[in-house]
Symmetry: C2
Subunit: 513 residues, 2 copies
């Protein structure tokens, strides 16, 4: 009897807990932006950058390296090809892109409720990408493993503010370089039902990604719908290499999305100014996106940008400073003018630990990304050390920021309830609103509740052990991994994936590069 | 000989150090904004809030408490006075304000190079205000003293990103409540030459502020020019008390600036919605600013706002969440539509320590403040614990953010040098820009250099002792206080101030309230 009532009591607590969580935020597949974009640059300035980018494409040109097929395709499309240097008549890239690239597209997830729309007024928040190390408060910094990778897939699956499972969240360096993509793709499919990113480190690995996706979604569906999106970095300045071009061709030919992303540490890979950097980014992205449309007209393609500045003393990349934000504002507007989705932003920082530097830099970047209209926000959660480390605690803290971006982008409620004139009339001067009918009706959803901030009194905070934000986050990710329940996966699909992986892995020797 | 060469070497280092500092940022008396404002709300939404605020003023009214003179002045000006409740015909407050309140004004500093323009496209960054406690990494949290107060005046004087000395940066609780204002005003004048804020805790203390300012600037100058600015909080909801009204009258009659600031923890002192809160803020500020203009037409007055949300669970104030940013965006636009300067923003946080929570929350607020067009940004540097603590380390970190706001608000350089087409032509595909002539010509001023971020390699960071941001800031404020050199002050003025203070302090007993 006492056991039963105990259980009932505990269920009550759980229900209350779940209720609190539900009330805290609407879980949406992506963010539907209801606020304007911030026009940091004037139309005149944007037109000047577009003009200059066309000059770069026409006079300087872009190198397409070690890919004769690419050169031949570009030549046939009207570019001026001289060795590996490709020059484009003014406006050529823009008109190729505008003729066939979709303004927005749906990336399907294996759980269709998790499908995301990429482009237009939508924002999709995505975990960080590419760290060889992981860090947590307990173990410090260490090389990432497939276990870490799985952990982050699980955490991203559980995070209401993240809409996507991401790609190479961290490098599972305990697995051979030429085979780890199988395990990463499998993890995304097995441990999450959110959409995911494909492998780009070799055209064969891109093909493996597509083949595995076909086992989940079916051959025909994949050929006609976007089920994965992949990161094609330009080798800035003004160069695309064969690996990236090869992967881009595989994905485009299967109608899968690519993000053509100039990767810029401004001052080293681009001029040491905002306008010069934006010009180069636009030129590179125009060339890359036009190439994708030449390979497969209509294949989804995203205007990507990763731009930080370097310290002109040490050459080290810096984050969260004003100039990269300016570049992001500029490029966001350029992407909208071109009419393609825009990828940039995230919780970027050079800090080695999840401290105040990490947070200032990340928040500055996240705010600018939201205001500038990023559609696909890679690196939203987890980044440390300029991407060298994926931090468990920072992942939790950034997810809290991701939740907040969703609220900010939704805009203010101007309904009658939002105007609250009844509350103002009921309370009047000198009283307080805590007990008003309007407050009672709205308090559950009224204000965003942070998952990691401590807003208690100083005395309560002391009694709770004087924890800082990272320490609170530490407890949270452990609790989440403990609570994790895998989304259902058809056992036949699971078996087919494992069989495919086993066969493919057995067909060639391990390699460490 | 070796001593001399040693000295020469040290001078060389110093010169280099100074050169580095100079290159880092232009030291300006205030920020001249060159970028647009972010229009978070539509014109239609703003008009609706204005309409509703007029309804509040007309139907509900504002209480002016314990000040018969205020009620009489308001009645004479056309308001409907019933007891202490004052109702205003639609549009009355707006037309009174627009008839005489300056759109912008100069606050003079004793060093005229430090004069600030408040309003229009200008931004003035100001230290935090009002903390009873201070905190540093060495001593933890303790009650503030006049020594702490002097320290923060010195640090604000030395901080290139702060344009103002502020007011009650922290409460010198070691001094009697009814006399500490003398010591605070004296500190601002003695240890800094930036403009400062006046006392508002009693009309007599406001008068003391004016009298001390006259000893510095001269009687006639003070009566005709703004030499101090003071914070007049509304006792929200919809109430002004006699202390604030009394101080406002003193300052207005001497032509000194006041900031009429609804102080809102939304959900407690205002409705639990953004639009409702903005409506109440506008109504309160309109009534307060109109009152100032009735007392002295033409006296400089600022539309102030302090709005945070409360946790609907604990009642504790929260910061850096989306809703207060939305309120700030709304009110900034409302102030511009009204045509008066706007005070809000700052590095606000509920965190007890200068950790990631403190930084996320502060950066979110600072970014929104910059984008929303805050003209006078009180609480820019130092805030912890919802204002209960002034942190030495956070002060340093926030000052770094202040420097960045100046860069962000300046906009992107679109000159020929900014466009960098020569650099793009010189370098071309596949090379790097580090050695280009353009980079060499621009690298010193190209990118903002953080004063507290660590952008070094992981290995270098380890070798440097694995410090976090707060630890680096700790070393910095100590170095700054060590390096502090007081600005010159005419000994006759200094003597007059000390004599005035001694006489006034001797004329009444100490009080602890």
């Amino acid at each position: 009897m006492s056991e039963r009532s105990g259980r009932r009591k505990s269920r009550g607590r759980d229900a209350k807990h779940a209720d609190r969580k539900r009330n805290q935020m609407e879980v949406a597949a992506f963010i539907d932006r209801k606020i304007p974009y911030f026009d940091y640059l004037s139309t005149e300035s944007l037109e000047l950058i577009e003009h200059n980018a066309d000059t770069v494409l026409e006079e300087i040109g872009i190198d397409f390296r070690d890919d004769p097929e690419a050169l031949s395709l570009l030549k046939d499309a009207g570019a001026d090809v001289e060795g590996e240097r490709v020059r484009f008549p003014r406006g050529m890239c823009r008109s190729i892109i505008q003729a066939s690239a979709p303004k927005e597209f749906t990336q399907f997830a294996r759980n269709t409720e998790r499908n995301v729309i990429i482009g237009g007024d939508r924002t999709v928040l995505v975990p960080s990408y590419g760290s060889p190390f992981v860090r947590d408060l307990d173990g410090g910094r260490r090389y990432a493993t497939i276990n870490d990778f799985e952990n982050f897939v699980k955490l991203a699956y559980m995070a209401p503010g993240l809409h996507h499972s991401g790609g190479t969240i961290c490098e599972p360096v305990d697995l051979p370089v030429n085979k780890r993509h199988f395990d990463m793709i499998y993890s995304h499919i097995k441990y999450s039902d959110k959409p995911f990113m494909g492998s780009v480190t070799h055209p064969d690995r891109a093909q493996d990604t597509v083949d595995m996706a076909k086992l989940v979604f079916g051959d025909e569906f994949v050929e006609n719908n976007c089920v994965c999106i992949s990161l094609i970095n330009a080798n800035s300045p003004m160069t695309f290499d064969a690996t990236m071009l090869g992967a881009a061709k595989v994905y485009a030919r299967h109608n899968q999305a690519t993000m053509i992303s100039p990767f810029i540490l401004a001052g080293a890979m681009s001029p040491v100014t905002v306008a010069g950097t934006a010009t180069q980014i636009l030129a590179e992205a125009l060339a890359g996106m036009a190439f994708v449309q030449i390979v497969k007209p209509g294949a989804p393609v995203v205007f990507g940008t990763f731009a930080s500045a370097i310290s002109m003393q040490s050459g080290a990349p810096t984050f969260g400073t004003p100039e990269p934000s300016m570049v992001m504002y500029a490029v966001g507007a350029l992407a909208r003018r071109l009419g393609v989705p825009f990828r940039s932003g995230g919780g970027l920082t050079a800090s080695k630990v999840p401290d105040a530097q990490a947070a200032y830099e990340s928040a500055n970047t996240l705010q600018a990304a939201a205001m500038s209209g990023v559609n696909f926000m890679l690196h939203t959660a987890g980044w440390l050390e300029g991407g060298l480390s994926m931090s468990y605690e920072k992942f939790i803290m950034d997810c809290d920021q991701a939740n907040m971006l969703a609220v900010l982008l939704k805009g203010a409620d101007m309904s009658e309830n939002g105007q609250a004139m009844d509350a103002l009339r009921e309370i009047g001067p000198g009283s307080h609103f805590l007990g008003s009918a309007h407050t009672q009706a709205n308090f559950k959803t009224a204000f965003y509740r942070s998952t990691v901030a401590d807003n208690n009194s100083f005395e309560q905070w002391q009694a709770d052990g004087e924890l800082d934000c990272a320490q609170r986050a530490n407890a949270q990710w452990k609790q989440m991994l403990n609570d994790y329940v895998a989304p259902e996966l058809d056992p036949a699909i699971d078996e087919a994936l494992l069989e495919f992986i086993s066969k493919r892995k057995g067909s060639f020797p391990d390699k460490e590069y």
